[in-house]
Symmetry: D2
Subunit: 344 residues, 4 copies
C-alpha cells in the first residue's frame, strides 16, 4: 500500500485523482493540499467526494513528507519549484501540469514564457504516455504526465509515425474539448449562458500543447516535424475529440490503415481501435481511461483522417496519471482505473 499526496487537489484533475484513488486497492490518499483551501474539509470543496471513509482536510503544499508518491495537479510554473525536495526525499512525483513534459529548455522557455526553475530534472523526467514510454516510466521517479490534447493526438498518430507512412509536412490536427478542459476557474468564456450552444477556436497556432505534440511525434518518426494544431471549445463538460488529417505514402485503403493500428495497439488494454463501420464518440469513454481510435483513408486526395476520443480529465489527466503510478509501482497497470465509461 502506497501513501499518496496530491498538490492542487481542489481543481478538476485533483478531483478526478481522488475519485479514482478513493477506491484504488493499493493506494491510500494520505494528504491533499491546496493553497486556497487549507483547513477545509474535502467534502466542502467536492461535495461529490463526501465519503465516510475519506475524511480528508486540505493541508499545506509542503505537508507531503510521508507520501510515497505525490501528484502535482498545479499550473505550469508551480511544479518546477516543488519537485526537488520531493525527489531528494526519495518520493516519486507525477506532474500533471506541463513543467516536465518538454525535454528542450529553449522550447520550454519560448512557449511558456517563463524561466524553468528545475531544468536539471527535465531530461530525467519521463513523458508519461504508457502506450509509448512504458519501460521508461517503470524506471523513473519523475513523470511529466501528458497534456489532454497531446494524449489524443499522439495516440492517434503513433502508428503512422512509427511506420514511416506519413508525409510529415502535412499534419493538421483539429481538436474539440469540453469546457472542463479550461479548469475550475471561472471566466466569461465558460459562463454557462455563454458556453452553452457555443463553438469556437482559440489559441490558433500558439497553443502550448504544440511543442509537446511535435516533440513526441518527431521522436516516433525519427525526424523533426511541425504540425498545425487548432483547439476548439465545444459545449460539453468533458471529452476531447481530435481529428487528424495528413497525406500518406504507400497506403491504399482504410483496411490497411486499420490493420496497422490494430497491430500497433494489440496489447494495449485501454486503446480501442474501431473497425470499419464505427468512428470514435467521446460519449463512449467519458469517465474512463479508454481511448477510441478510428481511421479512414480517402483515395481521392491520398489523405488519412484519424479520429481519437478520450476523456480530457481521465485518460487526458487523472486516470492516466494513476496508470503511470501503477507502472512505477510495478502493479497491474489497470488497478483502480479499470472502469467502463458512464453512459449515457
Amino acid at each position: 500500500m502506497w501513501n499518496i499526496g496530491i498538490v492542487g487537489a481542489s481543481g478538476y484533475a485533483g478531483g478526478e485523482l481522488m475519485r479514482f484513488l478513493a477506491r484504488h486497492p493499493r493506494a491510500k490518499i494520505r494528504a491533499i493540499a491546496s493553497r486556497s483551501h487549507v483547513g477545509k474539509p474535502l467534502s466542502e470543496v467536492f461535495p461529490s467526494l463526501s465519503l465516510p471513509d475519506l475524511p480528508l482536510k486540505f493541508v499545506n503544499t509542503t505537508d507531503m513528507d510521508d507520501c510515497d508518491l505525490v501528484f502535482l495537479a498545479v499550473p505550469h510554473g508551480v511544479a518546477h519549484n516543488l519537485v526537488e525536495p520531493l525527489l531528494k526525499n526519495g518520493q516519486k512525483v507525477i506532474d500533471i501540469g506541463a513543467d516536465f513534459r518538454i525535454k528542450n529548455l529553449d522550447i520550454y522557455t519560448k512557449w511558456y514564457g517563463i524561466e524553468h526553475k528545475a531544468p536539471q530534472y527535465m531530461s530525467e523526467a519521463v513523458y508519461g504516455l504508457p502506450e509509448i514510454h512504458r519501460k521508461d516510466i517503470k524506471n523513473t521517479s519523475l513523470v511529466g504526465n501528458p497534456g489532454c490534447y497531446p494524449t489524443s493526438a499522439i495516440l492517434g498518430l503513433a502508428p503512422l509515425m512509427k511506420a514511416g507512412l506519413a508525409d510529415l509536412d502535412t499534419i493538421v490536427i483539429d481538436s474539440l474539448s469540453g469546457v472542463s478542459g479550461a479548469g475550475r476557474g471561472e471566466g466569461a468564456l465558460y459562463h454557462f449562458p455563454h458556453a452553452a450552444d457555443n463553438c469556437l477556436a482559440y489559441g490558433v497556432g500558439t497553443h502550448r500543447h504544440v511543442p509537446e505534440i511535435e516533440q513526441e511525434l518527431s521522436a516516433l518518426a525519427g525526424e523533426e516535424l511541425k504540425i498545425t494544431f487548432t483547439p476548439h471549445l465545444v459545449p460539453a463538460v468533458r471529452g476531447i475529440l481530435s481529428t487528424i488529417t495528413l497525406k500518406l505514402k504507400d497506403v491504399s485503403s482504410t483496411e490497411q490503415l486499420t490493420k496497422l493500428y490494430e497491430e500497433f495497439y494489440k496489447d494495449e488494454y485501454f486503446i480501442r481501435v474501431l473497425t470499419k463501420d464505427r468512428l470514435p464518440q467521446t460519449k463512449n469513454v467519458l469517465g474512463s481511461n479508454f481511448c477510441e481510435l478510428g481511421v479512414r483513408f480517402d483515395p481521392r486526395v491520398n489523405r488519412a483522417v484519424v479520429v481519437a476520443a478520450i476523456d480530457n480529465l481521465a485518460k487526458g489527466a487523472a486516470s492516466q496519471a494513476i496508470q503511470n503510478m501503477n507502472i512505477m509501482a510495478d502493479w497491474d497497470e489497470k488497478l483502480g482505473i479499470d472502469q467502463p465509461a458512464m453512459y449515457p
Copy 2:
C-alpha cells in the same frame, strides 16, 4: 460468487446494471437478454462496455437457467409474465419495472390499465427501498425495485411521515428529471434540438408513480394519504431533483427538521443529510448510489420544503437494484456500488 442474468439489458437501466456489475467482486454477469438484439455482442449495443473481460452476447429472455439472480429491466406488463418460472426454479428476482411495486391489485389495474398476470406474487414481493424495508428485502426472493421519482420522494418524506409531524393533506411534490428517465427509445420530446434548453411538466395528476408514492408514504404515516405529484422534464441527461412542500405540525425551525433527518438516516451510508447552508444538487450524485437531502422550515407559512437529489439511473434504478441484491445475498450492502459521483 453469484451468477447474474439481466433481462432487458439493452436499455439504459440495463446498461447501468452492467457498468456496476462488471466490477462487482461477488457477482458475475452470466446472461444478458434483449428481444431485439439476440446474437449481437454487447459492445455493439453499448460501445462504452467494450471490456475485454466482458465478452457477452445477447441471448433470449428465457436463457437464464443458471443464474442465481435475475434482474428484469423491462417495461411494466412484461415482468409479470416472467417471474413465476424463475421463482419456481429457485432463482431470485429483482424487477426494476413497476409490476411488483404496488400491493393492491385494484390500484395496479386502475393506474396501469392492464390485467396483472401474476397477482399471487404481488403481496410476496418486497418494495426494494433498503433504507425503509431492509429486513424484508433480506428475506424475500422477489423485489419490486422502486421507481426513480418515488425513491426521491419517499426518502425525502420518510422522517416526517414516521414522526407524525406532517399535515398529510398538504403534500405537493414537484420533481425534475433528466431525459434519460424516458429511456433509450427515441421520441420528438427527447430529440436533442427539442429537448435542449426546454423545460416542461407532463403527466400532471396522472403519472403512474403517484400510487407507488402514496402506498409507501401511507404505510410510513400509518394513515391513508393522497399527494399531488408533478413530474418535469429538464435538459439534463441524468438526475432527479424532487422538491416537496407540505404544512407541518409542531415544528418551529430548520434546525429541528435537520436534526430529525440526521437522526432518521444516521446509519444510512448512501443518504447525505445536508446541513443548514447547503442544498442538494444533482451534480453531486450523478453516477452514484448516493442521495442528497436538504430541509428548510418556513415559519411565515408553517411549511417545510424538502429537497432530494438522486441519479435516476443509479439510486433511482440500477445501483439501488444492486444494493437490494447485496442485501438479499447477505453481503456488504455497498459491494460494487460504493463509488463517488463523477464530477464535473
Copy 3:
C-alpha cells in the same frame, strides 16, 4: 420617434433591450450606459450586436438628457438613486430592477435589507404587468418592471385569484429558471462544467420575488395571502417554467378551468392558453414576449396545477419592458416585440 436611453446596458437584460429596440419602428437607442464600459464600442461588449446601423459607445449613467425614456437595467439599490432627476426632467422611466415593484416600504426594507432612497416614488410607480395594469401603465411616468418569476406566477394565477376560486392558504409555486436568470456575472454555480447537467433549488423561503408575488396576488384576490415559492436552477440558458399547485373551491374539471383562463385572457395577444392536450414548454417561447399557460384540475385531491412558460429575459424582462414603453407612448403594444420564438 422616441429617443431611448439604457442604463446598465452591458448585462443580459440590457442586451435583450437593444436586440429588440434596434429594430423598433418608433424608438431609437440614443444612449447606452455602463459604469464599467464607458468609452467602449457596443460591438465589443455584445459582438452579437455588431450592426452597422448601431454604432454605439457606452457613456456615463448620467448622460441621458436627451432621451424621452430611460430603461434602468441595474441591480436593486441602484435605480432608486437615479429616478428623481430623470422624472423631474420630464423623462419617463422603466426600472427593470426591483426598486419600484414593491408598494410597501416596510416590506421593501425587510426583504431587500437596504434603505430605499426614493420612497416618495414607490406609490406613484406602476407595476408593469400589462395584462393586469395596462391602464395605469398608460398614465404613469415610472414603471417598476416585474421580476421574471413573478411574471410567470402572477399570469398563471390571476384568473383564479380574480374569480375567487382558490383556497388562498394552499398556494405552492415551484419555478425553474435557465442560468441566464442569474445574470452575466460569473460564479461557481454558473460555471459551465458545474451548471451543465445540474439541477438545484435555492433561496428556499427567502427569495426576494416572494413579496412581489404576494403583493400582486393579494391585490387580485382582494385579500392578503402568503405563498411558498421555491426557485430552481436548471441547465438551460433561458426560460422560466412555473408550476403552481393550489386547492380550489367550486371547480370540478379541467375544462372549466381552461375556459376560465381563455375568457380571462381572450384579448391578450401575448398570452396563449393551451387547450386540453398540450402543456407549456419553454422552448415554444424562447426569444419572444409570449407566455404559454396550461391548467389541469385533479379531482382526486381537489387541486389545480397551473403551468406557465416564459422567456426570463424577454417577457420576464426586456420585451415586457418594451411592451410597457409602447403602452406609455400610446403605440401599438406589439411594436418591435411581435416576433415568434426561435425554434429549435
Copy 4:
C-alpha cells in the same frame, strides 16, 4: 407584395423560413405544404409559430398555384420532381435542398446515387450564395440554395481563392455542426441522452457537401481542386463552425490576410471580418443571417487557419434563402432578415 409558398414546411428549415417571413414587409406566406401534415394547423406542428395573424393550415405540395415564389425545403431527390411545373407556370423557385446546387450531372449522380429527373435545369439554376453570385441570382428563376457547411467553407475561402494565394492541394476543412443540422427526424445519434456531451466525426471523405464545396472553390480559383472535409456533430442545437487550414504562397502575416478579407467583403452587410484579437463564435450569430470570419497566419508552418461561424438554419439555410428571394425580387437584400443574433 409577393405570395410565398413553402414545400416541406414542417422541417426545421421550413420553420425558420416561416419565422422570418411572418414578419417580412413585402412577402406573405400564402401556402405551406407537408406530405405528412395536410390539414393540420401550423400551430400544432410549430407551437412557436402560434401567431394570431398566421392562421395557416398545411396543404398539398401541389397547391402552390398562386404563389409568386416557392421555397422547396425538401430532401434531395424530391425537388427535382417539382420544379418544372412551377417554372413553366412562371413562378420562381428556391430549392433549399441539394438538387440544383451541382452543375455537373455526373458528379450529382456519383455523390447522390440517384438519377436526376430535371437535368435540363441544372445549368440554368444559380448557386445561391449572394456574396459570390449576386448578379446571377438577380436574373434567375431557379436558385439552388447552398448547403450549410458549404456556405461557411466557401465564404471562408473565397478571398484566398480569388487572390491566388493558396496552395490548392492542401485544403483541410473540419466543420462542427449543431444537432439541428441533422433535421427534425429522430435517430439514436440525436437522442438527447446520447447527443448531450457527445462529439463525433461522421461521413469522413464521403459527405455530399464535398462536391459542392469543390465546385465553388474551383470556380473561384479558376482551377480544379480537391479538398478534405470532415464534418462533426457537437452538442449544440444550432451553429456551424468551420476551421479551414491550408498552405499559402506569398503571405507573411495575419494582418495581411485580415486586410485581404476586409477588402473582399467590404460591401457585404452580413459578413463580419473579425480583427486581430477576436475569433468567430457561433453564439454571436445564432438566429441571424450574419457570418463571422477570422483568419490567422502561422509563419512556423506557412499555413493559414480560417474560421467561419454561421447559424446552420439561418445563413446556412432559411435566411440565406430569403436573402436570395430579396435579390430575385430586386428588394433591399436585408428585408425581413436584418435581425441581430439572440444572445445569450
